[in-house]
């Protein structure tokens, strides 16, 4: 003990030195930025043709990516040569990303590019109207013509805020037009001779589910999950579209020219839905704990699901040859669990679909023109896009054919998040389990539908929830209490439905609907609809 006590001061001193070195290390990695630049000065700085390439930061969400540094080095060679800039890709994990971005925005921290959307707290519309992003309407025309021209004009309407475009649409490989429907396990459909082609509503599935229930003891006939509620998250199945958040009261009918907002929970469609699902639950087609089950993956991976909702467009009526390559969601690929897909609806573009994946330019970006040039480069330079999305050929993946690759295990992997980088529209490389010809054909169908599909009557309308914030919070609480137990059929609607509606009204559902109506009317008047 004695010697230690004597050495105490030197131990402390050592610690202080250590901490100082850490301080040194920590601050030296700070980029040399001068935070004193005023916001209005930034755009005045003309792009000097200097030797120094500009560094652009691009924030996106992803699971951790291995070997990112190696890939970025190769990518930066291309970017430097093409537009004299370098790209710093900042990857944040999914769960923290929305919060991080919102913090960066509220603190005014500069960023050049970021991925965003109108779902999962990403708040594209709110942030755009707050002035967090740069208005890129003219910059797109000037610096990113190809990016602009790939997307139909009707779809650009869906990302405008006050008539200006704030985000470049990452036109995805799956296009925009979607349809909702179901996915059925093929072996059961064949076994029980179910006439799947004529199924158009949930009710039509009842005989199939019943046969599966009676004949297959270990199988769950229908997957209900509160992550994708079969009513509240799928307005299109009932010929409706949501205004703002899906679950909050106040939907519209897609063929309604007057755009009347109503409470979707008071419609006949909802009552019918409840009857059907209550019946399914009582008969045991739905898991007993479906209302509270958060993790649906185990059941899907264990091939226990006979039927579930899907977004099938085209389905197997449109394209019978799809049968050879559509599998049940998340069933192990090597088991080849074939599925049959059938859509219930016509191709339709909901109001929130264009804003699913966007790249925005930060309002405080020092190089907005370069940033938009980079958007264009990512969207047009296939070699660059493939490099970041899949890695280096030969090292991270093997080419099987022109459009097909095989990923090499344990190497660089972007976790199939290429849709955050840019437009993957017709630029994807497919993995070895895909039938490329069929895939291309079905995509062509989707892209054609994108030009002709019905568009939501509220496309381009953005609901500002600020005036009814309290009511929305109260309604949210009521929904959490009732919605999933009712929608999964766990409780008797005869007993609880009236109570649910009553509680919604007390929580202020009618105020929300009135507010939505008011804003839509103003928007209609302003846009001459």
């Amino acid at each position: 003990m004695q010697p230690l006590k004597k050495r105490m001061p030197s131990v402390i001193a050592g610690l202080l030195v250590l901490s100082l070195t850490i301080v040194g290390c920590g601050t030296s990695s700070e980029p040399e930025t001068s935070p004193k630049v005023a916001e209005n000065q930034t755009t005045q700085e003309t792009e000097k043709k200097t030797e120094e390439p500009v560094e652009l930061t691009f924030y996106l969400a992803n699971s951790p990516v291995k070997d990112l540094d190696r890939i970025m080095e190769a990518a930066n060679k291309i970017i430097k040569e093409k537009i004299n800039a370098t790209l710093k890709l900042v990857v944040t994990d999914w769960s923290a990303y929305p919060q991080k971005m919102n913090l960066m925005i509220s603190s005014g921290e500069p960023f050049d590019l970021a991925f965003t959307g109108s779902w999962g707290e990403l708040n594209y519309f709110q942030n755009a109207s707050k002035g967090a992003y740069l208005d890129i309407t003219n910059l797109l025309d000037k610096y990113a013509p190809v990016t602009k021209s790939r997307v139909p004009d009707s779809i650009w309407q869906g990302v405008k805020v006050n008539g200006k475009i704030y985000g470049s649409i990452n036109y995805q490989v799956w296009g925009m037009a979607g349809a909702k429907g179901v996915q059925l396990r093929k072996d059961f459909v064949d076994k029980y001779n179910f006439d799947w082609k004529s199924a158009k509503t949930w009710n039509d599935l009842t005989p199939f589910l019943d046969a599966v229930k009676k004949g297959e003891p270990d199988i769950i006939p229908w997957e209900y999950s509160n992550q994708a509620d079969n009513f509240a998250d799928m307005p299109i199945i009932y010929g409706m579209d949501s205004v703002g958040d899906n679950k909050i009261p106040g939907w519209i009918r897609i063929n309604d020219k007057d755009i009347k907002v109503f409470n979707q929970y008071e419609t006949e469609e909802y009552k019918d839905y409840l009857k059907t699902f209550r019946n399914w639950y009582v008969n045991g087609y739905i898991k007993k704990d479906a209302a509270t089950m958060k993790d649906y993956l185990p059941d899907r991976k264990a091939k226990r699901i006979a039927a579930l909702y899907a977004n099938p467009y085209p389905d197997q009526v449109d394209m019978p040859e799809l049968g050879a390559q559509s599998f049940m969601s998340h069933a192990p690929a090597e088991d080849k669990v074939y599925s049959i897909t059938k859509r219930f609806t016509e191709p339709f573009i909901p109001a929130n679909s264009p804003s699913t994946a966007l790249v925005v330019v930060g309002a405080n970006s020092k190089h907005p023109e370069k940033a938009v040039e980079l958007i264009e480069l990512l969207n047009t330079d296939d070699a660059l896009f493939h490099l970041i999305a899949f890695g280096e050929e030969g090292k991270d993946y093997k080419k099987i054919s022109d459009k097909q690759i095989e990923m090499i295990k344990d190497m660089y992997n972007f976790n199939w998040s290429e849709w955050e980088l840019g437009q993957s529209y017709s630029r994807m490389l497919w993995d070895q389990n895909t039938n490329v010809a069929t895939q291309e054909k079905s995509l062509q169908m989707i892209y054609d539908a994108d030009k002709t599909a019905a568009v939501s009557p509220v496309m381009g309308f953005v609901f500002n929830s600020e005036p009814v914030k309290t009511q929305i919070a109260n309604v949210d609480a009521t929904l959490k209490e009732y919605l999933y137990t009712l929608d999964s059929g766990s409780v008797d609607p005869d007993k609880y439905y009236a109570e649910f509606i009553d509680k919604l009204k007390k929580a202020g559902a009618d105020d929300i609907i009135a507010e939505k109506q008011k804003q839509i009317d103003e928007w209609k008047a302003a846009n001459g609809k």
């Binding site: 999914w94 979607g178 185990p298 998340h330």
Partner: protein
Amino acid sequence: MVKSLKLKGEGVISKLLINLMFIVYSAMCLIPVLLVLSISLTNEKSLLTDGYHLFPKEFSLIGYQYAFSGTTSILNAYKITILVTAVGSILHLLVTSMMSYAISRNEVRYRNQVAFLVFFTILFNGGLAPYYILVTKYLHLKDSLLILIIALLVSPVHVLIMRNFFKALPDSIIESARIDGSGEFMTYFRIVLPLSTPVLATIGLFISIAYWNDWFTSALFIENNKLYTLQYLLQSLMTNIQYLMSNEQASKTIEKSIGMLPGESARMAATMLSIGPIILMYPVLQRYFVKGLTLGAVKA
């Protein structure tokens, strides 16, 4: 146990009961950990078909293989975490104890006002956005190791506990040190700290676990993957799945991304790896607990 059975009749039953209670309680604490361990050593397919068991039905190390070959190097995250925990805990003890000692001494003027300022922060804080702005815009500590340490450097609750402990030290010891010619620092390092091992050990345990488990600071301020901490990696493994699942309908491609995420056994393997070293802190420091936590109560 055996000895206690030799005691007189009445004591035996109560002793048995007490022991039994603690055996049951310990089992309740241990079984979940064992279950996680077992899941991490089970083949993913067998998990899906047979469910969870306390002993792996089909033994496999795939989960650990994934964790080590996975996306960013776990070993590097270990290094960062251990460094931050070690340096952070020692600095935390030093800074916190100095502050507590100062406001526990009667001869320090305005000590109560200073103490009030410290405790005020327990009840009120600026909120997340100002905190973020302070760190990034004024301190420029984004993406540095230092922020991981500074974020937890002083905790007002710990100051409170320590101050009460120091107050309980007899003044006469400190006075006699002063008469013998010891300066303030000498007194503090040579007399006060050695007398305070219980409270130092207790707070040391608290704070080292807090440093070890801190993922939020990384999530906010760390962008360089070489500085990721273990818990942040683990957190992203766990919560990415949740987040993507709840937004699956947002995009057809999300379904594909979900398929890329690790399975149950890989996640549990990461969990096991992350509790590894810190779990050893408990047996070492546990005996100081009782003594350290009595907040200014009279000690025998």
